[in-house]
């Protein structure tokens, strides 16, 4: 119970800080808006249907990277990470708290992107509940990797270079799985045709959540 308190307080602090400074959400939304505007003037409507899943995950994926890259920066101001190290509680719950906060912000941006795609690129939304499920699973995969690598690189001088270098190659399974599943959903294909991609995303999310939870104690103490 005490461990879940930890998760609650991290989430409370991250949401309150974001409401006050709006740093992550505003930068992500403006970046996403720019990408969608560039897409809308670069491609003709006839090309878009085939390319739509790739465009969605290019916009969503890189927008998420923008937000995730600064996930642990606030923790370094006034050496707040040191306070986490001094806590007697399991550090994995701190990871889960940060993960939940990051996931929340990414999903908010992801859901805000869908109407923009409808408005600017003429996206025809089918099977909305499954599309939201893919956005959630993809966001969880990216949030997992982003939270882990943001924590790993936060004290390094080359953080800005190392973070995308570590994150992007390992995100390939998320991008492929999410893009393929989105393509199936937007084609209106039966669920069985893209179910295996959802399974891939789910397994990836589970493995990285458990691995990161276990590794975080070591990351924080070292």
């Amino acid at each position: 119970m005490r461990s879940f308190n930890l998760l609650y307080w991290i989430l409370w602090k991250d949401i309150l800080s974001e409401i006050r400074n709006r740093a992550a959400l505003v930068s992500m939304l403006f970046f996403a808006l720019n990408i969608i505007l560039i897409f809308s003037v670069s491609f003709s409507m006839s090309d878009l249907e085939e390319m739509m899943p790739g465009l969605i995950w290019t916009a969503f994926g890189f927008t998420a990277v923008i937000g995730l890259s600064t996930s642990f920066v606030a923790e370094t101001h006034n050496q707040c990470l040191e306070y986490y190290r001094l806590l007697p509680t399991p550090k994995g719950m701190i990871y889960l708290g940060k993960l939940c906060g990051n996931l929340l912000f990414i999903v908010i941006v992801g859901l805000a992107l869908l109407p923009l795609f409808v408005l600017f690129l003429g996206l025809h939304v089918r099977q909305l509940s499954w599309l939201i499920a893919v956005v959630f699973l993809g966001a969880l995969g990216l949030a997992n990797l982003g939270t882990l690598f943001s924590a790993l690189t936060v004290n390094l001088r080359a953080r800005e270079v190392l973070f995308p270098l570590l994150l992007l190659p390992l995100s390939v399974p998320v991008f492929i799985g999410a893009t393929e599943a989105t393509a199936g959903i937007l084609r209106g294909a039966p669920q069985a045709a893209y179910r295996h991609w959802l399974d891939l995303l789910g397994i990836f999310d589970l493995i990285f959540t458990l691995l990161s939870f276990w590794m975080f104690e070591w990351i924080l103490d070292e």
């Binding site: 800080s17 606030a74 306070y83 806590l87 007697p88 509680t89």
Partner: protein, 227 residues
């Protein structure tokens, strides 16, 4: 019989090939305040960070309330509270919100009246509602002590507790430390402010050339020559 709260036996620390501390042995009992003195770079902060479990000793053993600092970290950490040079504050939260967060993370639930009381004791008054980005270093130090007051640790580790504080602030901190000591907490602190430290110190030692040399607390105000 006095009960040992902080124990270090033959503690050494090296950074790569640079020796910082050599075979330091130190025992602080409950209700006792030990003050570390020494020139800049003599290893005071390193020694405090070793006892705070933030660093691992190269050799020797450290125990906090009987719990080994390496093999029983969570148990040792449950008893200690460290106030160092960093404030551990989130700039976008108010002082009160920072207290709620810090204590919540330690599993301590406190009501608004208790927080207000701690803030008043530390002489922060209306600053409790200010975002901490707007607080001076002195107010941030008072806030750190307000957190400690509510956390009620058995071991208090303080790195330069009087730094950035004005005279009333120092008096408030010393009153707060006397209260901690009266309730049986052990205090290990480093300070350059020997005159103010003397008011709460029971035992003292000077770190010089990697070694700790114990001195009489009555020598504290004129101990500069020992550096």
């Amino acid at each position: 019989m006095s009960v040992t709260a902080i124990l270090g036996v033959d503690v050494s620390k090296s950074y790569r090939y640079d020796l910082v501390l050599s075979s330091i042995s130190l025992k602080v009992a409950r209700g006792e305040c030990y003050t570390l003195l020494g020139a800049n770079g003599s290893g005071k902060t390193t020694l405090l960070r070793l006892f705070a479990t933030l660093l691992a000793p190269t050799a020797g053993t450290i125990e906090i309330e009987g719990h080994h600092s390496l093999t029983q970290k969570p148990e040792a950490r449950a008893h200690l509270f460290f106030i160092g040079h960093a404030s551990h504050l989130y700039d976008d939260l108010t002082a009160i919100e920072n207290i709620r967060f810090a204590l919540g993370m330690r599993g301590i639930s406190v009501g608004p009246s208790e927080i207000k009381q701690a803030i008043d004791v530390m002489g922060m008054g209306p600053f409790g509602r200010y975002k901490t980005r707007h607080l001076s270093k002195g107010m941030q130090k008072r806030l750190a002590f307000a957190k400690a007051l509510l956390a009620r640790p058995r071991v208090l580790l303080l790195d330069e507790p009087y730094a950035s504080l004005d005279e009333p602030g120092i008096e408030t901190v010393n009153a707060c430390l006397k209260d901690f000591l009266a309730q049986g907490a052990a205090v290990l602190m480093s300070s350059h402010d020997r005159a103010h430290a003397a008011a709460v110190t029971h035992r003292a030692g000077v770190l010089r050339q990697h070694l700790l040399q114990e001195i009489s607390p009555s020598d504290l105000p004129r101990s500069y020559a020992l550096f």
